[in-house]
Symmetry: C2
Subunit: 505 residues, 2 copies
């Protein structure tokens, strides 16, 4: 079956010159990746870093074509896509630095000695690559969370070959970015088979079930993610599946903040919830606003801003249809007031939607549809009239990637809301919107179920490399055959823990 | 139903004065643990450390009674149990040091600034406790992997309340050690409900399924572990399940080593495989020996040593029965030669078993029963006559907790075997036996499936605390409401990563 590319702005589809990958082909690709895993992981770290830099350079060289490809397949616009590509190449280069720095190896040495348990042998622990990593690209970030995105960059940085399943919403972009990665790999002397690309839903399932694959990175919906995660667990030899699924991303405005900055917050919220047509995993989907005049003013600012935004082109017909169904079930609740709700939907086109509900109704048993992520430009305003009502409503939400709090000067609600937020999300934000996820050492993009399958992991930031590593202890292994990272001479100049003390050299 | 205690040395059983915990009681216990989770986690770190030290002191104070209880319920002998209790209290005190040192918090600060992606806000990441941890004690270590064992110590060190499911093989020991833990907790001002104990199989299932429980630590068989792991995954909100299951622990003797030290290695192997009646998760179950005179001599040394050992009292009737069934299916293979195989088995009593098979037969399709862990004093000798035969046979084993290599001077087999071992296990040992797992910074006790459910985790050593932590990023949070670990003033004096650079203070 030929792969099909669709332009969401025009609805025009075309058959590409390549086919979906068959299950047999997926097995073959994964086998060849497994075959070169040892060679790739044993390249010197500088070479691995060079490869990531070369990949970034190759993407930069093709930037004009790539952005144009991606715009045709996503309608996200040139400016946004240029920015996303910059983020993507920055991410690859950042991981090159992480590789060279080497603390991700977590090297630790305990020389033989006595302990209250008796004598202990020489023990040296470090992290090694987990093996072949399967990567599922997302629909909403054709660069940063797709073929050349964070999962690929972090897995390669860890020393793992990757087999990437292209997202059906942007196959041309996937093919073109893959070619850049492959050129970068070959230029650096990485073995052929270090990066691989497959197409089609059947290929995705075969990838999760392949005995040559050792871990999966996934970004997508709760339904698709949970189903693939179950397949990973049902294998004879289960493998870790790191899925970033769905997140409602609550945003609370305190009484004090509403009084101080109603219009500013309302306008900002409308901008954040419609960024990228609301197709962000960090889109704030639940807005907690106090009842009363200040709150009314804030909600009015959201409504006015949304009305001024016109229509949005969604990423794909599938995304547009799901969005239509989700907003339908949101408005069907008797307790809900529709504040912005033009039912206009034409194939890939939609407008923004805003619903309102009282905090008690939201916390009650009949408001399930309002608790789940609605991927697209829709949000629910929850009006509360007491701290207790607010707390109950917030505790009734699903746990999330993010939790945002807008508060004012000397705001007595700040501390308890921060505490509740940290219990319920992977990132807590004060006086800011959750869209915009910086690539940095201190970023956490991952939270409790259902926002991700593993709350101890992140899919953005340097710590995302940890998903693709596995610790091994070398006991009484002679210096000459030890991995470089664990030799007494410390040839890599790593920060290590030696006999319990962290030290360089 | 009353809880029953059995003395495996005499077969005498007695009803204890307490009942198995009902499902409703488990829910109540977990709810109360969840209620105090916030209070416990926010105790100052010194107080948390003091609690772990107090628990160790209370166990020491009761040492004579505890060892006598445990010997009556496990028949492991006073000397071994005294050593195990020393290990257990050392472990609690070691975790007290880990808590005070604070690097487990993984604090990282990126001040607001520019990046190639544009301006980034202030981002600060640290790890927080995951919540209530359910702990399943093991049969074979009534102290070190049971109520006061590594899972409990690491979870409490992480700041998580624990609900422990006592192993049915030693309920009196469980109750007595729990009382010591509870006294230690109360003396340190930890809230009541920080440590909890439940009894019975139904209670164990209820624990895994409780909505008040956030993670599970388990040590036991593949069958029981996989079944509970599936329940954890089938929850509406799945939780991480860290299970240490079964491991065959291959041990390879090279040609050179066999020539140099046949008798020494053979005798040592027999000792390692019968330590604790072979009821260790690290018992070497597969011994790869070259064909020829030196290899014969080595095997003969194993056989003679085993014959001199007499009989073993197994931990429980269940363990003894499984062992009997497993050895039965091992000897039923036509390709197997029984070297030591008295079929004597009386309720809890057994003798050692040693089987031998050719490497090609072992690698073939009909030798499944010989590949799996056989918990108890049994092992399989695999005879190889070429490097290729050895490699194929080793690659046909299940992945393991450990992989041991005995090699000699200038041994050309050392390097490739170490490499293969690191790919297949969490700990690689040169010229040593895998039994004996030191508690240290550099210990890894965990490997690929089926040896554990999560190869990125360890259940022994300081890194075992990582299982019970979850990262959270605080974005643009004012200094005065930041967690202490993330304040610019660094009041805890932690080693942190600040703007990408690791530094103290």
């Amino acid at each position: 079956m030929a792969v099909i590319s669709t332009n969401p702005a025009t609805g025009v589809t075309r058959e590409l010159e390549f086919e979906e990958t068959s299950e047999a082909q997926v097995t073959e690709v994964c086998r060849s990746a497994a075959e070169v895993a040892g060679e790739f992981s044993s390249l010197p770290l500088e070479r691995r870093a060079q490869m990531l830099n070369n990949m970034a350079n190759e993407l930069d060289a093709d930037a004009t074509t790539l952005v144009s490809n991606a715009d045709e397949e996503t309608a996200l616009g040139q400016a946004r896509l240029q920015g996303e590509l910059r983020r993507t190449t920055f991410q690859l280069r950042f991981f090159a630095d992480v590789v060279t720095e080497g603390t991700f190896l977590n090297a630790s040495i305990d020389h033989a000695g006595d302990s209250p348990m008796g004598p202990l042998p020489d023990l040296r622990r470090m992290k090694i690559p987990i093996g072949v990593v399967g990567v599922f690209g997302s629909s909403n970030f054709p660069f940063a969370f797709s073929v050349p995105g964070g999962d690929t960059a972090s897995a390669l940085a860890a020393g793992c070959p990757v087999v990437i399943k292209a997202h059906p919403a942007h196959p041309t972009t996937s093919a073109a970015t893959f070619q850049a990665l492959e050129r970068g790999a070959l230029k650096s002397g990485a073995p052929k088979g270090t990066v691989n690309l497959v197409y089609g839903m059947a290929a995705g399932i075969a990838l999760v079930e392949s005995n040559y694959v050792d871990a999966i990175g996934f970004t997508g919906s709760v339904a698709a993610g949970r189903s693939l995660w179950q397949r990973a667990n049902a294998r004879t030899t289960p493998i870790p599946f790191y899925g970033e699924l769905g997140s409602a991303n609550p945003l609370v405005v305190t009484e004090v903040a509403a009084k101080e900055r109603a219009v500013e917050i309302g306008t900002g919220f409308a901008g954040s919830m419609t960024l990228g047509a609301g197709q962000f995993c960090t889109k704030p989907g639940l807005l907690f606003v106090p009842t009363g005049v200040a709150g009314d003013e804030l909600v009015e600012a959201v409504v006015e801003t949304l009305r001024s935004r016109g229509t949005f082109v969604m990423l794909s017909e599938g995304v547009a249809n799901s969005f239509h169904l989700n907003t339908q079930s949101m408005r069907s609740s008797k307790m809900v007031r529709a504040l912005v709700d033009d039912e206009m939907q034409e194939r890939f086109l939609t407008s923004a939607h805003l619903f309102e509900i009282g905090a008690d109704d939201f916390s009650g048993p009949d408001a399930d549809a309002l608790h789940q992520e609605c991927f697209g430009p829709a949000a629910v305003v929850i009006r509360y009239s007491s701290k207790e009502q607010l707390r109950t409503a917030v505790l009734s939400t699903e746990k999330s990637l993010t939790f945002s709090v807008f508060c004012g000067e000397n705001d007595s609600d700040e501390e308890w809301l921060l505490h509740v937020g940290a219990q319920r999300a992977g990132r807590v934000i004060v006086n800011g919107f959750p869209t915009g996820v910086g690539v940095s050492w201190s970023m956490q993009h991952g939270g409790p179920w259902p926002s991700t399958t593993s709350s101890s992991a992140t899919s953005v930031g340097t710590a995302s490399i940890e998903r693709w590593l596995r610790p091994v202890t070398f006991q009484s292994v002679p210096e000459r055959v030890l991995p470089l990272a664990l030799r007494d001479t410390n040839p890599l100049g790593l920060l290590r823990r030696v006999d319990g003390v962290q030290a360089f050299g």
